[in-house]
């Protein structure tokens, strides 16, 4: 048996919170990043994250929550998002976003797909499959840009490893899923 309707709603609303926050972080980076090509990368992906949030927000309404409902994720993950927001420098921002956050979030989306029932929750599955495709394109575009402009490559960085470790240290995104599902 997969997740309950309530658990699905909580997961979807939490994913929506994260996509909105990623949209806002990219938005704040656009005017504050000097490198034009990095700005344009972030600017394009604002729309991708907005569409992900919008699709998830429509799904929350189908899962007995308000339309475009968001749930705040676990405190540890909020700290990760705050750390991401505070990253400075184009190469650092690109690395943190496209080498850590996007692939790690993709892994969390895939965990959800593994846990839910593919038939009962098919609408969510379709939405997440599209988000995963978009995420893969975003990472590809970031890599292409760094190939074109090697100055935007970060290289080896302890800081990035620590940041990735911080993300991995948060086992569960959804707050009190057991209590809420009871």
């Amino acid at each position: 048996m997969g997740l309950t309707v309530k658990q699905r709603g909580q997961n979807v609303a939490t994913f929506r919170f994260i996509e909105v926050r990623l949209m806002e972080i990219l938005s704040a980076w656009v005017p504050s990043t000097p490198e034009m090509e990095a700005k344009l990368l972030f600017g394009a992906h604002i729309w991708d994250t907005a569409q992900a949030a919008d699709a998830l927000g429509k799904r929350t309404h189908e899962l007995r929550l308000r339309l475009q409902h968001s749930l705040t994720p676990a405190a540890g993950y909020l700290e990760v998002l705050d750390s991401l927001s505070a990253v400075d420098g184009a190469a650092q921002r690109i690395a943190a976003f496209y080498d850590v956050i996007v692939p790690a979030l993709a892994a969390r989306y895939r965990s959800y797909l593994a846990a839910t029932d593919g038939l009962m929750d098919a609408p969510t599955v379709r939405i997440i499959e599209r988000i995963l495709e978009t995420g893969a394109r975003m990472m590809r575009e970031a890599n292409e840009l760094r190939e074109e402009l090697p100055a935007l490559k970060l290289g080896n960085s302890d800081w990035l490893s620590q940041f990735a470790q911080g993300e991995r240290s948060v086992p569960e995104l959804v707050v009190e899923i057991e209590a809420a599902a009871a």
Binding site: P31, L40, G43, A44, D54
Partner: protein, 270 residues
Amino acid sequence: MAATTISVRGVELRADPAREACFKVVHLYTELWRTVDMSAESQREKLHREYNTEVQGMEIAAQSLAEFPDAPWELRMEIARQCWDESRHARLYAQRLKEKGGFKGEFPIANHEWNTTCVFETLVARLAIQNRTFESGSMDSMRKAIKVWNDAGDQCTAEITDAILADEVQHVRYANQWLNRLARGDPKVVLQIATTMARLKQMSAALRPQPGDMSINGVDLVAAPHASVRANVDDRQHAEFSGAEIATVVERQQAEETNQFVATRLEQVR
């Protein structure tokens, strides 16, 4: 936290967005190139300027997403889409600039749209200025630019300009729709727009060139004839301006053309 501001000719403006060191960022028209022909250098300057203008459009929209998290979600979606559009536009102009032998930082740039729009602290004011005023003005000038590029034998840039113009119509339209919707819900919005436009007029008057001001390429910024730009009535209709609003713009532009004609004739007589 209050935004960082700068003062130019006594006008308070939002401090510039981040730019690479290769760019010389200025604030006065006397520090900019003024294009008066379609020489190869002027063509590059036009593309370089449009490139930075599109980047500013993206930055203004992105800043609104960052600064107004409580705006209605449907409006935020429109703004997010605009970020993507402006990003694509900037890439198109950058690519065309490169194809013509130009490069980033070849000419000084000014971030007037950002400086002016983002000093206002409400989303209503920013939509009224950036989308409803600056971008609708661009709809007029871009319609003319398509002809100018075609006349210069550059169909490629003309086509790019037309594609960008079609996108800009939607940016103006959603601002018109949302400002009307917000005004219906709160009559104070109308007063807010009127106050914003009055302040914008004062800012523009203070920043515009003064008699004797010259551009960096030696053009007299006041005496040089200004190319007349006709109102792009079709696209203004697509952008859902009312008939009365379009008529006002047409009348104002006709009056400007008349004044320009009289001034030119007087100069010839003298």
